[in-house]
């Protein structure tokens, strides 16, 4: 028999009498736990790291394996939406712990990272994510000046997009820091530095906060 699936997309097609001839057992046919790896991979990619870690990877061993064995699932960490955070709140400490497990799974393939960091965590991050192109430190606990920051940035030669929110007032001059960042990251295309509100901040805040600079910085 011939069914036409021709020009009309919405035409109701006549049911074939042969359609139900061989109907394999649904229980065997439709085992979601046993989905092929690349299908699961595409589902986890849509889920994103955080959702995968909070649910899917604990659903069964087959799913877990895909989560821990596919480094390219973990190329972009921390870029979930605020809705996702509200839906499933975990404390900031756990959030950071999860981010670092995700980073470990990326096996050096991580290209984008967003999260809260201090000097030590930043050093750890650049060690495990040498291919980072995007780094957004939503809260940087800069207790000890910016030397460690510069040291870390030197280890991210591919960095193109950098955003840092400094929790503490910066000592030293902003223009010098900009110059240092420019030297540390020759491929930088976008830089946003957000300064903590601080009375002793010497520089003009309008000039520095939300400082968006396009193009090469020298």
């Amino acid at each position: 028999m011939m069914q036409s699936a021709g020009s009309s997309a919405h035409r109701k097609r006549t049911k074939s009498t042969m359609e139900n001839k061989q109907c394999p057992s649904p229980a065997v046919e439709r085992d979601w736990a046993a989905l092929p790896r690349d299908i699961l991979f595409s589902i986890f990619l849509k889920l994103g790291p955080r959702e995968t870690m909070l649910g899917a990877e604990f659903a069964c061993t087959a799913w877990r394996r895909v989560a821990v064995e596919e480094p390219s699932l973990w190329r972009s960490i921390g870029f979930h939406s605020i809705d996702e955070v509200i839906q499933r709140w975990v404390n900031a400490h756990t959030e950071t712990a999860m981010a670092f497990v995700a980073l470990e799974r990326s096996s050096g393939q991580c290209e984008a990272f967003r999260g809260y960091l201090d000097d030590e965590e930043l050093a750890d991050l650049v060690q495990r994510g040498p291919s980072l192109k995007t780094l957004d430190i939503s809260q940087f606990t800069n207790n000890e000046g910016t030397d460690k920051l510069m040291e870390a940035l030197m280890k991210l030669p591919l960095l193109e997009d950098l955003q840092i929110y400094f929790r503490h007032a910066l000592k030293g001059r902003a223009d010098e820091m900009l110059r240092s960042i420019g030297h540390a990251c020759p491929n930088l295309k976008r830089l946003v530095l957000i300064y903590a509100r601080a009375m002793e901040l010497e520089c003009d805040e309008d000039e520095c906060s939300n400082n968006l600079i396009d193009g090469e910085i020298r």
Partner: protein, 174 residues
């Protein structure tokens, strides 16, 4: 090898190909639509599927193939425009509306569709169904995911492995 009824869809009647489902139902469809499948594309370019021959698809049943072709027919014009860079917002909104409606289906149908999209390598459809499954399990606990998708009960070994994993990363149970 020339196609029996050739024509690239630009002039005259569009070239048709025949696809044969696992349960032996024949579907006649425009070559341009069937070519959204990477798996079929080469065969069709080689002139296959025309005339009385038909391309057998032993892994796809007729109900699923009919659904897959519905997607392909709808998306073929936009795909022909090279991803429709000059499509109007109205066209895009219409496709989006179609896609949303398209995956609003029974879970067993969705499963067959996922497997077929995968077998036939239809990129847009693969992405669409993956997104749908992701949306279905988003925000759910592991147990809720198991229930939603009707996982078989874990074997004792599996359970032990999962328990160890949960101990290691206990945040799912905060």
């Amino acid at each position: 090898m020339a196609a029996p009824e050739s024509g690239d869809g630009n002039n005259g009647a569009a070239r048709m190909v025949t696809l044969i489902s696992s349960d032996n139902t024949r579907f006649e469809v425009e070559a341009a639509a069937a070519s959204l499948s990477q798996t079929l594309q080469l065969t069709i370019l080689d002139g296959g599927g025309g005339g009385g021959d038909g391309i057998p698809l032993p892994n796809v049943d007729s109900a699923t193939l009919s659904k897959v072709l519905e997607y392909c027919i709808k998306h073929a014009p936009a795909a022909a425009n090279g991803g429709a860079p000059n499509a109007t917002a109205v066209d895009r909104a219409e496709l989006e509306r179609f896609d949303n409606e398209f995956v609003n289906i029974d879970q067993s149908v969705l499963y067959s569709l996922i497997m077929a999209a995968h077998n036939l390598e239809i990129e847009g459809l693969q992405s669409l169904v993956a997104k749908k499954v992701a949306d279905m399990i988003k925000g759910k606990s592991p147990m809720e995911i198991r229930r939603t998708l009707g996982f078989p009960d874990p074997t004792p070994e599996e359970q032990a492995e999962m328990n160890a994993h949960m101990l290691e990363y206990g945040w799912a149970y905060e």
